[in-house]
């Protein structure tokens, strides 16, 4: 510690130790913050149609379009160390062969940002249940200056008759007439410092397991079981889907 340079190095060296220690304690403090998440998932409507993975594809595949009701109370996932929660809804269905594990496919997801996270365009904003107007485009909502705010506290969702974000298909290309399909909620809590944690159904210390969060089992209908209107097969766009790119999709406008 005899010269300024040595003192500089010593102070910085000990600072890194302190910073790492504090970060560790903060990471551990997540585990004493109690959690009691609950959710209910219900199937609203399911259709299976034939389609192509992309425009020039010769291969025809079967796609399932699943609408659902989702109500969640995940407020307790947001403690002081939570940056954001990646929430997703999986469709789980048994494989065609008994010795293979069940297939899982995500049909809907959302990035729920905590209060401490800086604004980002990909963050999920809960639709206003009272509003009958179509969703505002990004440009319009920016121009109106009023910040899009959720009508519910962070982590609380009430989505009746929600359209999926993704139509799903199977690796075999056949999805019609599958039985024992279940919708299951999952999440990934992303903290500021510390470990990522996923949804769990069992109690873990101060963390209660997820109550609900699984739909009743249902069967997929036959392909084209009933006449399908194109409007029924629309998918939801996340905010991240509106990134501007050449020939990319444009935000939905009011009159279109």
């Amino acid at each position: 510690m005899h010269s300024a340079l040595v003192r500089l190095q010593n102070v910085f060296g000990f600072f890194t130790t302190v910073a790492f220690t504090v970060a560790t304690v903060i990471a551990l403090s997540s585990f004493i913050s109690p959690q009691s998440p609950s959710a209910s998932v219900q199937l609203r409507n399911v259709q299976v149609v034939k389609g192509r993975p992309h425009y020039y594809s010769y291969k025809k595949e079967e796609y399932a379009h699943i609408k659902f009701d989702l109500d969640t109370d995940l407020r307790t996932l947001f403690n002081w160390n939570t940056k954001q929660v990646f929430l997703y809804l999986k469709a789980i269905y048994p494989s065609t062969r008994a010795n293979e594990p069940a297939s899982e496919a995500i049909i809907w997801d959302a990035i729920l940002a905590s209060n401490s996270a800086p604004w980002h365009q990909n963050h999920y904003t809960h639709p206003d249940p009272k509003s009958k107007l179509p969703k505002k485009s990004k440009k319009a909502s920016l121009a109106s200056k009023s910040k899009a705010t959720s009508p519910y506290p962070i982590g609380e969702l009430h989505l009746p008759n929600q359209r999926p974000k993704y139509q799903i298909t199977d690796i075999t290309g056949k999805l019609g007439n599958r039985t024992d399909v279940v919708l299951e909620l999952g999440w990934n809590v992303q903290p500021w410092v510390g470990a990522l944690t996923w949804a769990n159904f069992d109690k873990f210390g101060a963390w209660q397991g997820l109550r609900g969060g699984r739909s009743e089992a249902f069967d997929l209908p036959e392909v084209g079981a009933k006449a399908v209107k194109k409007k029924d097969l629309e998918t939801e766009k996340g905010a991240e889907g509106y990134r501007l790119e050449v020939n990319g999709e444009q935000p939905r406008r009011k009159n279109v």
């Binding site: 510690m1 005899h2 010269s3 300024a4 340079l5 003192r7 500089l8 010593n10 102070v11 000990f14 600072f15 302190v18 910073a19 220690t21 504090v22 304690v25 903060i26 403090s29 403690n79 002081w80 160390n81 401490s116 500021w192």
Partner: protein, 102 residues
């Protein structure tokens, strides 16, 4: 004149302090940074605001750098009484336990 000026600049940059000062600097580093870390966590946890934790921690660290790194006068309160420089022609002799060593 220029040499003198350079000497002063070098002293200021090197920032040498005495032995007691070094002990004190070591102690201050540990205490200040440790306290900053503990306070940062507690303040953040109480207010449930992790950003506050970050800022308190960084402020404490900045304070520590300011207190410890420059050669403040209180680090030089116990200067060591070094022997005067000498060489063979200076005729100066050093006695250690009755033996001439220099």
């Amino acid at each position: 004149m220029a040499d003198q000026l350079l000497e002063q600049v070098r002293d200021a940059v090197e920032g040498q302090i005495d032995f007691e000062g070094q002990r004190l600097a070591e102690l201050l580093t540990t205490v200040l940074l440790g306290a900053a870390g503990i306070i940062a966590f507690l303040v953040g946890f109480m207010t449930q605001d992790i950003r506050l934790s970050l800022y308190v921690g960084l402020a404490g660290t900045a304070l520590t750098f300011l207190v410890v790194v420059p050669p403040w006068p209180f680090y030089n309160k116990n200067p060591e009484g070094w022997l005067p420089p000498h060489n063979a022609t200076s005729g100066f002799s050093i006695d250690v336990d009755g033996q001439k060593v220099g």
